[in-house]
Symmetry: D2
Subunit: 345 residues, 4 copies
């Protein structure tokens, strides 16, 4: 950690800073420049970080040197983590192809969609039972009934299933019915939820918050990892911006950015990132080319009757055409797409 | 609601849209322009909003006309809402002066701070017992022990107290010890938490999320209001931006913006908004001048030993000097600052 | 254009709006709803747009229906525009591979870089002679001397050259030495510069401004097009955001977004977009997969001695390896990369 | 300047960095930590900044210590700069009250507006003769004819006048007719324009760019100052954000933020910042309370016939009422508002 003092700091101020650092059990190194005095501090940066050195009189800036996350970092774990969800591998060259409707709306419609996306090559089925809706008057999801439908549908087509959890009190229930738990963008910094999910051993799909930096995302992953659950998959899904022709701004550079710093797999959700059906195929292909470990796409067989987010869902045949483009691209790039076992088609 | 069709939409497409609208029980009005066909739909917009009209083939845009919030709107309730927290009024010309440390760290230090801020004119005491920290390795708050200290301190100085709640499972506990519940920025769209707090009758301080629009904030207030709790106070505390010399960007225009649309009181938190002690006084004065119903400021008697957010806390004497500036300003503008009863100083 | 009146607008207000519209020579259609009165206006939207209807008393919102750009739109020109720069085609399936140093620093170094990037497959050479630098104390470019070096180098390796122009007074000079003119991000809304360049017949590389929406970018293209210069190539180069680990945020979805609305070619600059050498290759591949008509990459044979933007430049051998990855990807996607004629290697 | 090396950097890499620094004529100080090696460099930081140290192999981060601007900094000039525009003082406790229409549209209308704002207390008249419009098809301003009207009107009412310049070729012309030159937000980083205006001795009103940080704004001021023109007034006018209910986001904290670092006066433009007439008064009052050296407000006697930006203009009587609120506020805060001489009322 480096402490930069204000210009014209007095010897008393400098002395006071040095005493504080030594009192905390660290060793300061002073460098006297013409314009500024700089103090380097050697020691456990985590412990130092907890200390409000910035607030000491005479201090201009405190510059941390080390990354604040540990278990999520490449320095801690060099090789790519491969998460396995009921036989489907994600990471280390294996792509997750997650597809399904935004919300679970009934058994018949979910079965219909699942059959089509699985046939097209999707290897994980998604569907929301608890929906985070901006308006209290919008459809809030089918709850446990939805979870039952999701589980039955997944089993019928041999697909692992993933669904979102929003409340720590729902975790026990959701874990019973699903193979992977999604933490949505709005809950990326719901720290109690992160901790509780960290105590389970179910794979976690952690979506980036709408105004979270890459570092924030990795810190949230650290919350889950630090509780013992090492099955974390990150998901870029766009962030808030001034651009008003798309729902969010897809920060695709976050994929190589995360991979340079972390061993965790990272997928991309072009449906939420753009909010526009017409942009999804191009962004899905770009995601695979950028090195993402999968794509998460909303598919609905009748978007105009979908009870949530219809405009950003592909039709099943659009999804099938997209998968026909993704497959040769993945092959060119040396990536594999696991196929669901027990396919009944 | 207005539906704009794509250019060159076919008569079949237009017919299909009309049928969908009528099937939903609404009446469409068609306007045929040279370049576009436009359909006005008369009926309950809330119900229409739930329908994915945007996803219908041939539809270019769906333009809602009415605001999506009801109970929070000025149209629903014309007069300013005045929330009363243990005798301290907020809204309708009455200013909340909320002050205290970021985190509760012990009884002696909280008593010391409370005594000084109350003497300076603060009328509500704040302190965090459950802390949302970016890192799992940072101090997470004292929990119930902290709540007990907060309650005792508030009673000692005749000040109502407010503390943050992050998890629906903490609500019962927190309600027992505090007079107002804070929903932090990171939980502004934690909808399960909003609903649970909506079921209590404790006043709520709802902070704007880091990437929430003014409309999003009002929709989150609507979640609380729709469950029956009408004691909602909004709080602007800055949003994320590209500016890197302040922690967040204080969107002060949100104050008159909210007040034009809603009857709810709105205060400002310049501590979190700027993250810089030196900018707090100017922004506190500006908040009052902009029409805010109060200011929320972190105060710590020894920021360099604070276990959380030291650099953005004022010293007690800085707070006292600021209050000495706020008082004549409030008076000039015809605003009142209620004084805590039973002051023991 | 649709005009939504405020709730409870009086018959007099409605009458006044109708009179204003008729006075402007347009025909209004009134729709009386329960909560709002809506007026549709048929006529030339451009003319209407110029009128401050929003400012009329009683008007809540004015909703334009048509896009504000014409010559840049797909509706005006359905087929992809293919721009030809000295034999190198850009657009309609042809990829521009623009490479070179940020700034021209001397003949020897530019010749060295040009030889290597051309050998690797670059088909246009870039280099700045006038540099927009944040600080007045930074290197501002070699000016005309630099232009001479650029021209000589391009001719030596059979490559068309592109350079940035910042001031309308430089245009005559720059046009004499280069094959394509770049308008930098900071000048995207320098409207006098756009107009002057629109009067030339030199191909233009128009970069997206740091806070420009896709619509703003297309409006700036419209400025150039409306003066008669139809050789416009757009360039996504990242926008400002809160993410602090990259220089800008690459909005890759702007590529399919623009292509859905406009016939103009669009390339991507991952160097400026990320500001990080390690992220450039992944983003270049993603750009091609997303449908971009080329990539613009800074290459320097000794980035640590570059006088501008060293950290975001690839080394020549890194560029060659990237081109070896781009070529099979382009082939898979049915895209072509024109080769410079007269290659002397 | 501090250079942080990557973890596990080799002795050869460290040696190479040290040699580069010494070759540049600076003295490096090495600190060997457990996890990182850090090198402090003593010497002229400006010169170092120009060097691409970041690009050297093995370097993780380069942390500048000093601010990149000099002439604009408080360290260079401690006392507040007071700019005098034809007798009207701005800065150091003196408030500029700039008012007038967005665009000059004719003599009669400008005379009418000027008379009313001057009577209300405005002390500088604004009006655009060259208009930066997003669309090439919108009204582009009256040019020199407008300048003549502006000058005549200013003289008629004893008010100094300010107008925007967009092109270096217009400067000579504009300087002849006006008392202060405005550089608009879109041209804040039009560096050639900044340099040319720096060569004049006319006071400059420099508006913050739509995505400029506070540091960027001060660097642009440095461009003007470094050419010899020391009469620079900064203007906060809102920046781009995700909030869609206002035109821009007013970053009012930039006022105390700039004043902590710079001696230059800073005013606020709530018209462009919000784009909404109903929010202007609250934001104007907040600006004065925040310490701004003036406010810049658009006023039009018939906004619905204004040829540009009608919705964000106050009516003359609204402006007069606002001035009646600003005056006692300014007095309370110890600020003065100079009155135009030769007032004809």
């Amino acid at each position: 950690m480096i402490i930069v003092l204000k210009p014209h700091s007095t010897p008393e101020q400098i002395q006071h800073v040095l005493e504080r650092i030594e009192a905390l059990g660290f060793m300061p190194h002073v460098s006297q420049g013409v314009a500024r005095t700089i103090i380097g501090v050697i020691g456990d940066e985590d412990q130092l970080r907890a200390e409000p050195l910035q607030a000491i009189d005479g201090v201009e800036t405190v510059l941390p040197i080390l990354k604040p996350f540990k278990l999520a970092s490449r320095e801690f774990h060099q090789a790519d983590t491969v998460v396995e969800v009921k036989g489907i591998r994600i990471g280390g060259g294996h792509l997750a192809m997650i597809a399904g409707p935004c919300a679970i709306e009934g058994e018949a419609i979910l079965m219909e969609i699942a059959e089509q996306v699985q046939k097209a090559g999707a290897n994980i089925l998604r569907g929301g039972a608890f929906k985070p809706r901006t308006s209290p008057y919008s459809f809030q999801g089918m709850g446990e009934d939805g979870l039952k439908i999701l589980k039955a549908t997944g089993e019928r087509f041999g697909m692992p299933v993933v669904t979102e959890v929003m409340d720590p009190r729902q975790i026990d229930l959701v874990v019973r019915y699903t193979d992977m738990i999604q933490i949505g963008a709005r809950n990326m910094q719901n720290f109690d939820l992160l901790k509780e999910i960290g105590r389970t051993r179910t794979p976690v799909l952690l979506k980036r918050g709408l105004s979270a930096t890459v570092k924030d995302l990795l810190m949230s992953a650290e919350y889950v990892l630090s509780q013992g659950n090492r099955q974390v998959i990150l998901c870029e899904r766009g962030v808030k911006s001034f651009e008003d022709s798309t729902r969010n701004m897809l920060d695709l550079a976050s994929v190589p950015n995360v991979k340079a710093q972390s061993h965790l797999p990272m997928i991309v959700d072009p449906s939420h990132a753009t909010g526009r059906r017409d942009l999804i195929p191009a962004m899905a292909l770009a995601s695979v080319a950028a090195g993402a470990d999968g794509v998460h796409i909303e598919v609905h067989s009748c978007p105009e009757q979908a009870r949530s987010d219809g405009p950003q869902a592909l039709l099943p045949d659009q999804y099938a055409r997209l998968m026909d483009q993704i497959r040769p691209l993945a092959e060119l790039l040396g990536r594999k797409i696991d196929v669901c076992e027990g396919v009944s088609v």
